[in-house]
Symmetry: C2
Subunit: 107 residues, 2 copies
DNA sequence: TTGACATGTGACTTTTTGGTCACTTATCAT
DNA sequence: ATGATAAGTGACCAAAAAGTCACATGTCAA
């Protein structure tokens, strides 16, 4: 059996799919053709990736005529967070994460 | 090139490794042998999984005589969160995630 | 110091995943 | 209608990951 969260984690495991999420985080409502244009991969590869993201619920889509618009859904990401970070430790962990980011910016 | 975050996402992609994180979230400082005992897999399989988790920084270890103790490090998880959830939307998303969890509990 | 215990390594096989391609379907504008 | 545009399907190949095994190392206790 393939559980719900399994789809999410598997979807996130690929760098191309994470890149697609990054692009949609930046601005969503994009089409397959638009997303494809900036990747060194055929349309079919990108389509497969988008399908996995959609099946995982990380991306939701809406049809508009002959094109399909893609939107980022961050809820599954939050659920990953909540699985291993309880609200009592959230502040500390968040502070550490910020510290790490800042150190890396100046490095 | 294999980036830092790539190791984290790949590590999280496997159900056995997520299970190991769950066990360590429950209580950490466990040994390989202890973690192995509850899995239907040889010691070698579990060892490989733990090594990937450690390389990803999701688990940190400390040697204690002939045994190796494993601890959960939640910081990389928080960094995943911060990648796609900005602090302005964090509240909404968190609320939606809680709602989803509650609905599933009673279902 | 010897036997038992806890962890580690490298080679190997099987399964899963990523990517491409030929071909198809649906929608729009002229 | 028809040519152009956007998205979809199933088969296929190559690359990567999961898991096991024979063998090896380091540590403890009697």
């Amino acid at each position: 059996m393939k559980t719900d969260d399994d789809l999410v984690f598997r979807a996130l495991a690929d760098p191309t799919r994470r890149h697609l999420l990054d692009r949609l985080y930046e601005r969503d409502g994009r089409t397959l053709t638009e997303l494809e244009s900036e990747l060194e991969m055929t349309r079919f590869g990108v389509m497969k990736h988008l399908r996995l993201l959609e099946e995982a619920g990380l991306v939701v889509t809406r049809r508009e005529g002959r094109q399909k618009l893609h939107y980022l859904n961050p809820v599954p990401i939050r659920l990953i967070h909540d699985r291993w970070i309880d609200k009592y430790r959230e502040r500390q962990v968040s502070a550490l994460a910020n510290l790490k980011s800042e150190l890396e910016e100046t490095a």
